[in-house]
Amino acid sequence: MRPILLQGHERSLTQIKFNKEGDLLFSCSKDHVINVWFSHNGERLGTYDGHNGTVWTIDVDSQSRFLMSGSADNTLRLWSVQSGKCLYKWEFPTAVKSVAFNETDDQVVCITEQRMGFQGAIRVFNISRDGDGTRQASEPAHIFNPIGSKATVCAFSCVPNRVVTGHMSGKVAIFDYKTGEEVDNNERAHGDEVTDLQMSPDRTYFITSSKDKAARLHQTKDLKVLKTYTTETPLNSAALAFGKPYILLGGGQEAMSVTTTSLRQGKFETRFWHKIFEEEVGRVKGHFGPVNTIAVSPTGTCYASGGEDGFVRVHHFDETYFKAKPYGDLEVLD
């Protein structure tokens, strides 16, 4: 595999996302810019300029028409994917840490941080897809304040009116956003902060990564832990490889201790684990710092990783990846 290096950011990456067809790759970083790239050749299509702080989170709808971004400048913005124009802006008292579209692209959920005396809140907005998208409701359709540990990541569940959240304490919970009630939770899903949460295509299960060095596969229905992948470094991101029974994990030691440990010790690699056998099957190195975010193209033919070093590396899987059968002739049905 020959990775394509994308150098569109001056600071560490915070999140990367593929669109549904996997031809566009969105990346955001602490340098306030959001970039969009053609994934097949690494050409930059454009940038979404306007944020005034670290862009913590992005999500693109399934039609690749709208892009949502949440930033430390306390705004949530809606962008036109094609033109790069900001269509709408919501302002909050604190930073937006996580944003996600629902399956039908008409709602977004976002988490605002608990800070400066303000409570952390989870808001659900209805997105109007009529016209050019500049006319949106300024007030959220639903808002609630989860009690207890801060929420760090969120996504819509496969069940209507439910969102799945990951928390600072390692808790994973399901909320009913209409009532704000915590329907179900798993307090001990992780031992430390949940850093990433990515849904399976049908949203019946999801993967979380945590600073407690483990990634776990959860069932959306009852938050039962299906699989656990324990590594030796804190994890920043976990992704599901589509079409293949693998899990991609990225991490590395904390940014603050990077200079005091050697590169080899740092384990700045993307690790491939077998989804079923919970065993590491391969590694890809390349980043000079911890891997902050990983995304796999929904087509399953390529993946990208964004690191603390400010690079995005796009890897198109070669034939050996598709032919490899590390556990012999067995088929895993998704």
Binding site: M1, R2, P3, I4, L5, L6, Q7, G8, E21, D23, L24, V33, W37, F38, H40, N41, G42, E43, R44, L45, G46, T47, Y48, D49, Q63, S64, Q82, S83, G84, K85, Y246, R264, F272, H274, F277, E279, E280, V281, G282, R283, V284, K285, G286, R313, H315, H316, F317, D318, T320, Y321, A324, P326, Y327
Partner: protein, 340 residues
């Protein structure tokens, strides 16, 4: 194809012909470059270009350029072309010689929406930029290997740790790959033996222990104790303090030879004199004469080591009380330092 375009792809292809890099160009005329290359192109604009497509669908471009020495150079470029919705994508480049390049274009069937998105004009910081990847933001990295295999942590493409390397090296050099514990005969190093505290070291008739050398550094422990590759303090060498007390000095290593303490010798007695004297009894391993640090004159005592205990005993019997250099020798067993 412009010259700089060739150079760009050359650099890609030279390292890996089966590169998965796909480069889209709007038509085969221009490839996006930096401003520096643009200037170069103008200067080297070929005076004459032949361009044709052969029967295999490979497009051959022959350019004539003037090189640095003012000579005319014929440049061949061959491309295989195919169209994807009016777009050409190049996947693999095969340089034959410096400027002869074969490019195979990859056809790909894409979703209508995806094909449409490829026509989108650039925006934001990329606004007004030419189509095609910009080398300022997009580069091709070094080849990385992903080998998927079962069985936990793959170590193939991971360099082994220093310890592992050293162990491997030791197992290859020492004993032709065989590692035998001197205590329990197991296939591990003596220092790693689980019975090292309970079993005494087996005597193997000196077959595996190196012969003693007079000038060997006295405080070096048995080499096997360094098998782990880690630094072991001298006090912990040689069985990790099992045979020696924790506060003991490191000169214990040389005391495994039977040594006699010879006193009441004259000031000007040299090592060689004593060696001559005692070699009548048996083979002398080592002689040490105590000297004054400043004047270099003898202090009246010496240590004589023999290779076996019987010879040493015989030496005591024969030499103790004997006159030498008009003094009467006093010969006895040398005592370890802390017992004196």
């Amino acid at each position: 194809m412009s010259r700089d375009g060739n150079v760009l792809f050359c650099s890609v292809a030279r390292s890996d012909c089966c590169s998965s890099l796909k480069i889209l160009i709007k038509n085969s005329a221009t490839v996006k470059t930096s401003w520096a290359d643009d200037v170069e192109v103008e200067e080297l604009e070929p005076p004459k270009v032949e361009d044709y497509v052969d029967e295999n669908g490979i497009r051959i471009t022959i350019e004539y350029t003037i090189n640095d020495e003012g000579k005319k150079v014929k440049v061949w470029s061959c491309f295989k072309l195919s169209c994807v919705g009016g777009w050409l994508s190049i996947v693999a480049v095969y340089p034959k010689i410096t400027r002869k390049i074969k490019r195979t274009l990859q056809k790909s069937l894409v979703d209508h929406a995806v094909a449409e998105r490829k026509q989108w004009s650039k925006f934001g910081q990329e606004k007004e930029n030419k189509p095609g990847p910009d080398r300022a933001t997009t580069t091709v990295g070094e080849d990385v290997v992903l080998s998927l295999r079962a069985g936990g942590k793959p170590t193939a493409d991971e360099e082994p740790s220093h310890e592992e390397k050293l162990r491997k090296q030791l197992t290859q050099t020492a004993g032709g790959g065989k590692v035998v514990c001197r205590l329990c005969k197991g296939s591990h190093f003596t220092a790693k033996c689980p019975y090292k505290d309970s079993l005494p070291i087996l005597n193997e008739g000196g077959a595996e222990t190196p012969p003693f050398q007079d000038d060997a550094p006295p405080n070096e422990g048995p080499s096997t104790s360094n098998a782990g590759g880690k630094y072991v303090p001298p006090s912990m060498r040689g069985g990790a303090g099992a045979s020696r007390g924790p506060g003991e000095s490191m000169r214990g290593g040389r005391d495994d030879l039977p040594t006699l303490r010879v006193t009441n010798i004259s000031e000007d007695t040299q090592e060689q004199d004593l060696r001559d004297l005692f070699s009548y009894v048996g083979r002398v391993a080592r002689v040490y004469v105590g000297r004054d640090r400043e004047t270099g004159a003898g202090r009246g005592f010496a240590f004589v080591s023999f290779e076996d205990k019987a010879t040493a005993q015989r030496a005591i019997d024969r030499m103790n009380g004997r006159g030498y250099d008009n003094l009467i020798l006093n010969v006895g067993w040398s005592q370890p330092r802390e017992q004196r």
